[in-house]
Subunit: 576 residues, 2 copies
């Protein structure tokens, strides 16, 4: 440590909000070079490389082959798939000296599809899984939390190419299992959640979320069944149809001063017999949607009045169409839309598509807008008085909602995305016409999967999940050094003994960080806690009595070991 | 090989001119993604990683510590040192979503200087050597020769920080020796040449050039003494003064129709007694120079008439001043400059600085311009009739010129820059005020060195230096696989035997590329030659007689080895 390029800091950096960011900076693992752009100092780089090794190992175990594509990419392939524009401001774009448009790769589906097209021409070559561990770039709007969400970061991205859907499923599950092994080896606590595919395209997709209070991704899970999903991917159980028989006919009421659900419920309870809640009202939210290459069209979205529309869920449901809220101009152009009093009947009469939450089943009865100012209709029955054009996942998901698997209730939690696996299908192979000659002599369009692990982000995730109030604590698989050996005794014999012990451990194949600085034991102990090696060995006052102290950074427990046995005992501890 | 992501090509790629480019593409090591931007396929990546390992190992041996800085960098530090503009079009510049100027790092002096300033504050922390192996970006005007000169490439760059000049010298020599070890281990044929510092700034600098016909760098060397230098760094021995006594006085002649050196020499031989050559004339070339922050000033450069002015040498001599040739407007603004007839006297009379080639020593006598149209002066003696303001290295260097060490003649050769070491001094530490508290309690400005190895370029250099007409040939230190094992026998016993041999070699720690494809022996042998593993083992017809063939890809020789001894014999061959 007297030579190590390291300076620990007493104070948290001013721009740090989350524990991993504070600690990785204070412990000298990383330094900020620009917003969302970090330098890896010696200890940080060691953790990063350790994560890479585990990822590489498990990718190799499923037969994936490592290659390395450039980060500086031409525009054309991304233009071809539409992502040059779809990525919006998140894409770093630049021009070269000749004025050619280039970009810094955020992910490489296009390039891998082109590469496989160029190299392979026969079904005999398939399947193939290719991967890279590479620096990626995304111009995040709010880069935050240090390396947890950076603008330059290291990712493992892999791509599978198969002849058919079964092959894709096999490649997908191979990745799923490899990821489970990777995260288990690294010591990450995580959940796998059903996810939507988003701009990536494709069908099935799951996210690996590290459990963390500081996560930006909200997911829900059922503790009873283990079900977990991204909020966007939660499927609401469809309501069972209820018989109409005996339901009173719908009736329109004048309902002055009821522009909100709350005022409407208050009116209902005051005027009608019964105890109504917001869940008895039907809220009809207007948006406009545009399918790729199509025109903007009106869409009515009906949800129970006790729930807000979650725009991200709505967007995910309607993917790949775009969704926007209506402007005043839109309302002006469609005068039949009576703001605050929109009802299913008016939409149907004007040919507007109307999708409802799955809770709005046949036979359910609602208080809703009557399509004229200050009027609502009561007892409007789905399937009898109106027929929606289908269902849509648009209503917010709440703690206590039933789990889609019917086995309990959902609770929400925060997570950090550390992996994502996609069954892309043929979106990219269609774009580049990636065909091979099939066994029957006819061309076969390949089907593709895409799989990512946030390698640099995992360093922050591990710091986040394992730290305590004294500092970092590294799982053995990623610790920068196996042993932190502190010389806390000024006697030359003790110093020599510590050096000899370090040499013995080194000879046994352990990586030892020797604190040989001229500093007080107190300073050294504090730094050892901050830096977070799992095993701390102290050559201190006990050395005169022939013992050294071996501390476990996780449990906080320490044992005294005879100097003569120390190397063996420590090696055994490290090897577990 | 039946699973390897590899396709070998029969034909050279259309855009390839040099052998390494052709072969690395044909053998499926790399693929072009954009001009000067390449993807590394499995075999290529293995060579790249092998080069990295050797570099890392030797850097570690001199106590250098590995870190990793970002490639995406903020403008400010480069603005501070002037390199934001100095780099010109070679710098990839971009803006982020907030409009902030950023760049893709071509080299990281600024960032390392800032980093050390931020971390270190005491003389006790010094010296320190930091390095990274990282992707760099330069927007080359003519990216060429595949990965030999790419726009995205991998470099090892290191930076030393020392308290004083002696420390810098020590760090510099540590790097020099580490580089010698690296290139020796890799098997590169190279020379170390004296170099100029160029835009990097600083004093001493040497280049490591791989000898190669396809190199873009011309250097000269003295085969007798081993002296070698970049053309820009060649020092011309100063001429010994000659006594003036007995030299006739200078005399002006009317010399119509002598605008060129050739016509002037013809006139002299026709009109005067004696046999004159171009070397007897003094050619005065006008340029303008501008020191940093200064104004443009005229400069006369005198060279013997038989030599051209080498603008790159002149620029290197006058560094950091800029140099430009005169325009017609410049001549018009300085009417005393009589184009074609400029002489030292006119320059002196008009206060124009005049620098001469070191060959123009006191007492040497010249035919040169007389500062009026159609007139030259003969017998103008340096030190008697004119006194230059100094000497300058501006004349071209030619084969046969005397070596600066006086031990022979210079011959020129081509090379590829694979390493460059600089004693930067305090250019960057001054820019960022990188001080530490010295032993005496006063601040000490650190002195800095910068050292680069072209890691990805070395892959091409090794291909360039070692290939033959059949394909690549990899030195053991970098070969993608130790052994290429070809199954050239369809009998199941032979196939099983080959698999068993591969497993034995694998167990012995060797990396084996097994050609288990359904292809003819001829195709397999051709691919083995193209791919270039140093040892090729053939399980062929001899297998029935209990032998396999072991071929040396370099010598072309092959021996038969008994199957029972094969694993041991091959392992011994590989281990050398």
């Amino acid at each position: 440590m007297s030579n190590l390029f390291l300076r620990t800091l007493r104070d948290d950096p001013a721009d740090a909000e989350v524990p991993s960011h504070k600690l990785l900076v204070r412990a000298g693992y990383v330094r900020r070079a620009a917003p969302g752009v970090y330098s890896w100092l010696p200890l940080g780089l060691r953790v990063l490389k350790a994560v890479e090794r585990v990822v590489r190992d498990e990718m190799s175990n499923i037969g994936a082959q490592e290659i390395l594509l450039p980060a500086l990419l031409p525009r054309d392939p991304y233009e071809e798939t539409g992502r040059w524009t779809e990525y919006g401001d998140a894409l770093f774009r630049l021009k070269d000296r000749k004025g050619a448009d280039m970009l810094l790769g955020p992910t490489h589906e296009e390039l891998f599809a082109q590469l496989v097209k160029g190299e392979y021409s026969s079904y005999k070559d398939l399947p193939v899984i290719l991967y890279q561990i590479q620096t990626k770039y995304r111009d995040e709007e709010r880069p935050r939390a240090g390396i947890l969400r950076g603008r330059e970061f290291v990712m493992k991205d892999s791509y599978s190419f198969d002849l058919d859907d079964d092959g894709l499923t096999t490649s997908y599950h191979a990745h799923r299992e490899a990821y489970q092994k990777i995260f288990a080896r690294l010591g990450v606590r995580y959940v796998i959640v059903a996810a939507t595919s988003g701009a990536m395209g494709g069908s099935a997709s799951e996210e690996f979320l590290a459990e963390s209070e500081v996560g930006e991704d909200t997911f829900v899970r059922c503790l009873e069944s283990g079900y977990a999903a991204n909020v966007e991917a939660v499927i609401t159980p469809a309501a069972q149809p209820i018989p109409f028989d005996g339901l009173p006919p719908a009736k329109v009421y004048r309902t002055p001063d009821t522009p909100t659900i709350d005022t409407l419920v208050a009116w209902a309870n005051a005027t009608l017999e019964g105890t109504f809640t917001a869940a008895d009202t039907l809220k009809n939210v207007m948006v406009k949607v545009r399918a790729p290459g199509g025109d903007w069209e009106l869409l009515g979205v009906g949800v129970p009045g006790d729930r807000e529309v979650d725009v991200k869920r709505l967007e995910a449901s309607l993917e790949p169409a775009e969704v926007e809220l209506l402007t005043d101009a839109d309302f002006a152009a469609n005068p039949f839309l009576t703001k605050g009093y929109i009802g299913p009947k008016g939409l149907a009469a004007n040919g507007v598509r109307f999708l409802v939450d799955p809770r709005i089943g046949d036979g359910s009865s609602w208080i809703t807008g009557a399509d004229e100012p200050n009027h609502h209709v009561v007892g409007l029955v789905a399937g009898r008085d109106f027929t929606p054009d289908g269902t849509v996942e648009a209503a917010e998901v709440r703690d206590g909602d039933p789990s889609p698997d019917g086995k309990g209730e959902l609770v929400s939690a925060k997570g950090i995305e550390i992996g994502h696996i996609f069954q892309l299908g043929r979106k990219y192979t269609n774009a580049f016409e990636v065909d091979v000659l099939g066994e029957n002599g006819k061309p076969v369009r390949l089907t593709m999967g895409s799989y990512g692990v946030g390698v640099s982000r995992l360093v922050a995730v591990l710091a986040e999940q394992w730290h305590d109030d004294k500092g970092l604590r590294w799982p053995r698989a990623v610790t920068p050094f196996d042993v932190h050996l502190v010389i806390a005794n000024k006697d030359q014999a003790a110093i020599d003994g510590a050096q000899a012990l370090a040499a013995e451990l080194d000879a046994a194949g352990l990586e030892v960080l020797l604190d040989d600085r001229k500093a007080s034991p107190g300073v050294k102990f504090k730094d050892a806690e901050l830096l977070g090696m799992p095993t701390v060995v102290v050559v201190g006052r006990g050395y005169a009595n022939g013992v050294v102290e071996v501390r476990d950074r996780f449990s906080g427990e320490s044992v005294e070991v005879a100097v003569a046995d120390a190397a063996d005992a420590i090696t055994a501890t490290v090897r577990g």
